[in-house]
C-alpha cells in the first residue's frame, strides 16, 4: 500500500542513505528559516554549533557526557519497543535511578566504600525497573495505555525528586540534595573532563542489548512478539512474561542513566537533573531504527548537536530549543517520506 508517488520516488532515490541525508539537509534548512525569521544568520548559527561541538577536547568530552545517559535511555526505549510497547517513561525511570543512587550514597546506608558503587548501580537499575514495572503491569493486566501511564509517571518522578530535594534530603544550601559519599563517585575517564565511567556502562549495555536481541532465546522471543504477537502466542510463547521482563529491563536501563548522572557528574540530586534525556532517547531510538549499536552513534551525534547549540546560545543568543525542532523535524520528515518503514 505505498502511496501513489512512491514508485517514482523510490526510483529517484534508490539509496536510503541519500534520502536520509537529504532529509537532514531539509530539516536544517527549515530550522534555518526559523532562525532567519527571528533575525539570526543560520550559517553563523550552524558554524557556531560545529565549533562548539567539535572545536576542542573539552567540547568533544561534553558531547560524550551528553551522549552517555541518552544511549541508555535510547536502549530503554528500544528494548520496550522491540516487543511492541512504548516506553515514554525513560525520563521518570532515570529519575528513579538517580533517587536510588543518591539514597544509597547520601549516607543513609552504611556500606563499606568498595561496595557502595556496585550497590548504587544495582539500586538504580532495580529502582528504574520497579518504576517501569508499574505501567507494564497496568498495561498487561488491565490494558491501560502505557503511553499515558509512563508519561504521567514522568511527572510523578519529578514530583518525587522535587519533594526529596526540598524536604527530607535537602542540602540546605543549593537546590539539590546533600552530596553522596566520595566512595560513590565514578572515576573520570579523561582527567580534567566530566567524561566518566558510566560511558563504559552505556557502551557495554548497547553491545549487550545487541547481543541479547540477535543471539539469545529471550531476544528472539522479544523480536517475535514485536513483529507478530499473534504468531508468538500461537507458538506457545509466554507473551505477557516476556513483555513484562522487557519493560522492566527497559526501566532498569534508564535507571542506570540516572545512576551515571549522580555518581559521575553531580554527586548529588539537583533540581532539573534531566533536560529530557528520556525524550531524546525516543528520538535516538527512532533515528537508529531500533538498532542498539546505531543508537550509540546517533546519541553521540545528538550529543554534539546539543552541546554545539549550547555554544550557539552563548555566542548568538539563539535558544537551545532549536535542537528539539531540528531533531523532531527530521523524524517527522522521515515519517512523511516513509523512509523508516516498520522494522521490528
Amino acid at each position: 500500500m505505498t502511496a501513489v508517488a512512491a514508485p517514482k520516488l523510490a526510483a529517484a532515490m534508490r539509496s536510503q542513505a541519500v534520502l536520509g541525508l537529504g532529509l537532514v539537509v531539509i530539516s536544517l534548512t527549515a530550522a534555518g528559516l526559523v532562525l532567519l525569521a527571528t533575525g539570526v544568520n543560520p550559517l553563523r548559527a550552524y558554524v557556531e554549533i560545529l565549533r562548539s561541538a567539535f572545536g576542542s577536547v573539552d567540547a568533544l568530552s561534553e558531547d560524550l557526557v551528553y551522549a552517555t545517559p541518552v544511549i541508555l535511555t535510547a536502549l530503554s526505549v528500544i528494548l520496550a519497543f522491540r516487543c511492541g510497547l512504548w516506553n515514554i517513561g525513560a525520563d521518570g525511570q532515570l529519575y528513579l535511578g538517580a533517587i536510588a543512587a543518591v539514597g544509597l550514597g547520601f549516607n543513609h546506608v552504611d556500606l563499606p566504600g568498595p561496595l557502595l558503587l556496585p550497590a548504587m548501580i544495582v539500586g538504580a537499575f532495580v529502582a528504574g525497573a520497579a518504576w517501569a514495572a508499574i505501567p507494564a503491569l497496568l498495561r498487561l493486566r488491565f490494558g491501560a495505555s502505557e503511553v499515558i501511564v509512563t508519561l504521567m509517571m514522568n511527572f510523578l518522578a519529578v514530583t518525587l525528586a522535587t519533594y526529596l530535594i526540598g524536604g527530607p534530603w535537602a542540602s540546605g544550601i543549593t537546590p539539590a540534595t546533600g552530596p553522596i559519599a566520595p566512595a560513590g563517585f565514578l572515576p573520570s575517564l579523561v582527567p580534567g573532563t566530566r567524561v566518566n565511567a558510566n560511558l563504559l556502562v552505556a557502551l557495554a549495555a548497547a553491545a549487550g542489548l545487541a547481543f541479547v536481541m540477535k543471539r539469545t532465546v529471550f531476544g528472539y522471543r522479544v523480536r517475535t512478539i514485536g513483529a507478530n504477537i499473534h504468531a508468538a502466542r500461537f507458538a506457545g510463547m509466554n507473551v505477557d512474561r516476556v513483555r513484562f521482563l522487557s519493560f522492566a529491563g527497559a526501566g532498569g536501563l534508564a535507571g542506570l542513566a540516572g545512576f551515571g548522572e549522580v555518581a559521575g557528574i553531580y554527586h548529588d540530586l539537583p533540581n532539573g537533573l534531566s533536560p529530557g534525556y528520556g525524550y531524546t532517547g525516543i528520538v535516538v531510538a527512532l533515528l537508529a531504527r531500533l538498532d542498539p549499536l546505531w543508537a550509540v552513534v546517533v546519541a553521540f551525534a545528538l550529543g554534539a548537536l546539543n552541546v554545539g547549540s549550547g555554544g550557539m546560545q552563548r555566542a548568538l543568543g539563539v535558544p537551545v530549543s532549536l535542537v528539539s525542532i531540528i531533531e523532531a523535524l527530521l523524524i517527522l520528515l522521515i515519517l512523511g517520506t516513509r523512509l523508516m518503514e516498520r522494522r521490528t
Binding site: V217, F218, T224, A227, H230, A232, R233, G236
Partner: protein
Amino acid sequence: MAFDHPAMTIEDGPSPWRLAAVGITKRYGPLTANDAVTLDLRAGEIHAVLGENGAGKSTIMKILYGMEMPDAGTIERDGQPLIIRSPRDAIAAGIGMVHQHFMLVPTLSVLENLILGTPLSGRFMVRKRAVRAKLAALAARYRIDVDLDARVDELSVGAQQRVEILKALVRGARALILDEPTAVLTPREVEALGDTLRELCAEGHGIFIVTHKLAEVMRLSDRVSVMRRGRLIGTWPTAAVAADDLVTHMVGRSLQAAVPRTARAPGALMLEMQAIHVPGQGGRPGLRGLDLRLAAGEILGIAGVDGNGQQELADAITGLRRVTSGEIILDGEAITNRPTATILASGLAHVPEDRHRDAVVLDFPLTDNAVLVDHARRGIQRRGLVDQGAVTRFTDALIAAFAVRCSGPQAAMRSLSGGNQQRFVLARELSRQPKVMIAMQPTRGLDVGAISEVHARLLEQRDAGMAILLVSAELDEILALSDRVAVLREGRIAGVLDHPSVEAIGALMLGTAAEQAA
C-alpha cells in the same frame, strides 16, 4: 433510462439495462489476477460467477465496484463506457456490493448503517424518525426483514447480510454484486436469501453471485460464468450446462473420484474432549458441552457453518482460550488450560486458520520462522543462546522436505507465495513429530496444485499413524479426506458420521434449531 433510484422511481417498473466489464486485465506484481476478462449482467437475471479460490472472481468484482483499478479494459453500461474509480463512482452508477466480510459498522444501529453516506442522513442533522418510514417501506417491498433499531453487532450473520443488501438498495443499486454470500449461512438462510434475490430480479435488478459452490449456482442462477486462474473459461445459460462440465471447467480437469487412500486403521485414542465449555464472544456460541474423540491414524473432519465454535475448539485444545469446564486429554495426559507451550510440547501440532496472522511472522526470514515453536529445544538452543548454524540447517531440511520454493533459508516469509508459506508451515509442524495435529482450513486461499499437495500430505501422515483434526468450511475437502465427520453446530457436536454424505451432513448442520430461526 437505466439505473434509476429505486426508492424514488420504482413505480416506473423495470427497464432493461446491461452492465459489462470488457477485457479487464489486472496484475498484482507477477500475478495476473484477471486476464482480459469479459462479463456482463442484464436486468432481471442472476449471473453466477464460479471459480476456485484465487481464480480472480473477487478481483473483477472489486474492479466493478471501484475498489481496484484495472490495468486494461473498460466497464460499460448499455455500450457506453463508465469510469469507476472508487466505490463512490460505482454507487453513483447504480452498482452495489455485498462483501464477503460485511462492510457494516458494528457499533451503529441498522438504520445508521443504512443511511451512512447517503442524502438520507440529512444535511445538518440526522432525522431518524423521518427516514425510518422510507427505509421500512423499502424493506417491506423487497420482503427484507430487519429491525432498524438493532445494533448491528447484535444481529445474526444472516440478518447482517440482509442489512447489507438493503444498504445497497438504499444507495440506488440496480446491479448487485454478492461475494460468496452463502459462505456463512445455514442451508435454511441460503433458501431465504434465494427468495430475496428472486424478488429483486422481478423488480428489474440484476445480480452477480460470486461463489465456488456448485450446488448454489445450479439452483439460483440464470446464467453461469466459470473463471480459472484469472481467465474467463466461458458463460452459459445455467439450464443448458451440466454440473459435471462446470466442475471440469473450474478445475481444469475432471476431478478424480476421490483421493487414493488406504483403508482406515484407527489406533489408540489420542485426543479426548469431555463436556467442554468455552464462553462465546461477539454473538458467537462458544463451546457448550462439546465431546470429541480422535484416534491415531484417522482424520476426523469437523464440518459446520463458520462461527459455530470452530475457532473456540482449536483455541481450547491449544490452550489459547480458557476452558470453563470439561476436560481435554492428549494421549492420556490432561492438558486442560495448560500453557500453550506445554500443550504443544506434549505432542500437538497446529496449523492455524489465519496463516499470516497466527502461523508465521511475515517480516522474518524463513530461519526465524522455522523455530517459531521450537526455538527453545535442545539442538537449537544452548544455555539461552540460539545456535544460528543449527537453525539454518533445520530450515534447509524443512525447505527440502516439502520442496518449498524460495530463494533460500534467509528469504523473508513475505516473499513466498501462499502455497509455499503453507508448505513451510506444514513442514515445520510435522517436523515436530506430533501425535495429534489440528489443521484449520488448511487449504484456504491456495491454488489447486497446492491444495492437492496439502491433501496428500495430510493423508500420508494419517497413514503413518497421526491423529488429525481437520476443520474446514469446504464440505468437499471434508468428504475427500475424513474417515469420520463430526458436525459442529452452536458449540456442540451435532453428530458424528462414519459414512458421511452431503445430505446427511447438511441435515446435521441445519439441525432442529434452524427450523425456528428462519
